[in-house]
């Protein structure tokens, strides 16, 4: 993962083409969700050791935001999906 990412649109690409945002699990709350929900969305991270989902932006490629599901210990990648598809499917869970 740290070397190559298989972009669902562009194929295998080096890390240099991407920029990384962080945890892709938190979902932006509804506008009226309340202070606690907004605080949690912006600041609190589950940060587990193991399988995680993370936003990667294919900045030097298709310029799509991707959700990379990967292991942050072994660096194995399980899936790379377009973030819009993930968002449309309504949750961070695999569609």
């Amino acid at each position: 993962m740290a070397s190559l990412i298989t972009c669902p649109h562009c194929g295998v690409r080096p890390k240099e083409e991407f920029s990384i945002r962080g945890d892709a699990v938190p979902v932006r709350p509804a506008p009226n969700a309340g202070a606690e929900a907004w605080y949690a969305y912006v600041y609190v991270r589950d940060n587990p050791k193991g399988r995680i989902q993370e936003y990667w932006h294919h900045a030097a490629g298709c310029r799509r935001w991707l959700v990379v599901e990967r292991d942050n210990v072994t660096h194995e990648v399980f899936s790379v999906r377009d973030a819009a598809d993930v968002a449309r499917s309504g949750s961070g869970e695999a569609a």
């Binding site: 562009c10 194929g11 295998v12 690409r13 083409e17 490629g61 298709c62 310029r63």
Partner: protein, 190 residues
């Protein structure tokens, strides 16, 4: 009001950004050559949700253009025969399209030669073996540290399109990487 005698009609000279980089006597092209195309037409074309397939098909149906893939629902449409206004009119007829002229925002170069893949291997990370990047393929890609578009236009020939502001950097870097094969460079005839 002051009176300034300015002609009623002005004519503005167009200048290629690589004029500063390709100066003096142009060497005869070697087997490895980098050709800069002076004024290609390049449109940025976006398909709106639900129209991706239709737009793609319609773009490919246009005559006198090459379609370069940028990403899902985004293309560069390149033409060496149709001007930007005319091409834009054609493209905008396609349902579900948004497009704008990017001819001045991009610089198009062609690089060819028997060892062209060895030169490009020093400029980009993608495997250019024909099994994974066959003639006809195109993609947005990091080229010489700059986000550009690469297309394979022949067995040993590629087209590089990069943002105008970065073109000098890319041009110099590709030339540098071509020194091993005595790469020459100049404006192309077309």
């Amino acid at each position: 009001m002051c009176e300034v005698t300015l002609p009623m009609t002005l004519s503005f000279a167009h200048r290629h950004v690589l004029e500063d980089h390709i100066v003096g006597f142009e060497t005869r092209p070697n087997p490895h050559h980098l050709a800069v195309v002076r004024r290609p037409t390049i449109l940025c074309v976006l398909a709106h949700a639900g129209f991706e397939g239709g737009v793609k098909a319609a773009l490919h149906a246009l005559e006198g253009v090459c379609v370069r893939i940028c990403g899902p629902a985004e293309w560069l449409v390149v033409s060496h025969s149709v001007g930007p206004e005319a091409l834009l009119r054609l493209v905008r007829e396609i349902e579900g399209v948004s497009a704008f002229d990017h001819s001045d925002g991009r610089v198009l170069m062609r690089i060819a030669g028997p060892n062209v893949r060895s030169i490009l291997a020093k400029c980009l990370a993608v495997d250019l073996h024909r099994d994974s990047f066959a003639p006809g393929a195109s993609a947005n890609i990091l080229i010489a540290h700059v986000a550009g578009n690469l297309a394979r236009i022949g067995e040993d020939a590629f087209e590089i399109i990069v943002p105008r502001s970065y073109a000098g950097t890319v041009f110099e870097e590709v030339k540098e990487m071509g020194r091993e094969f005595a790469l020459t460079a100049g404006f192309s005839e077309d």
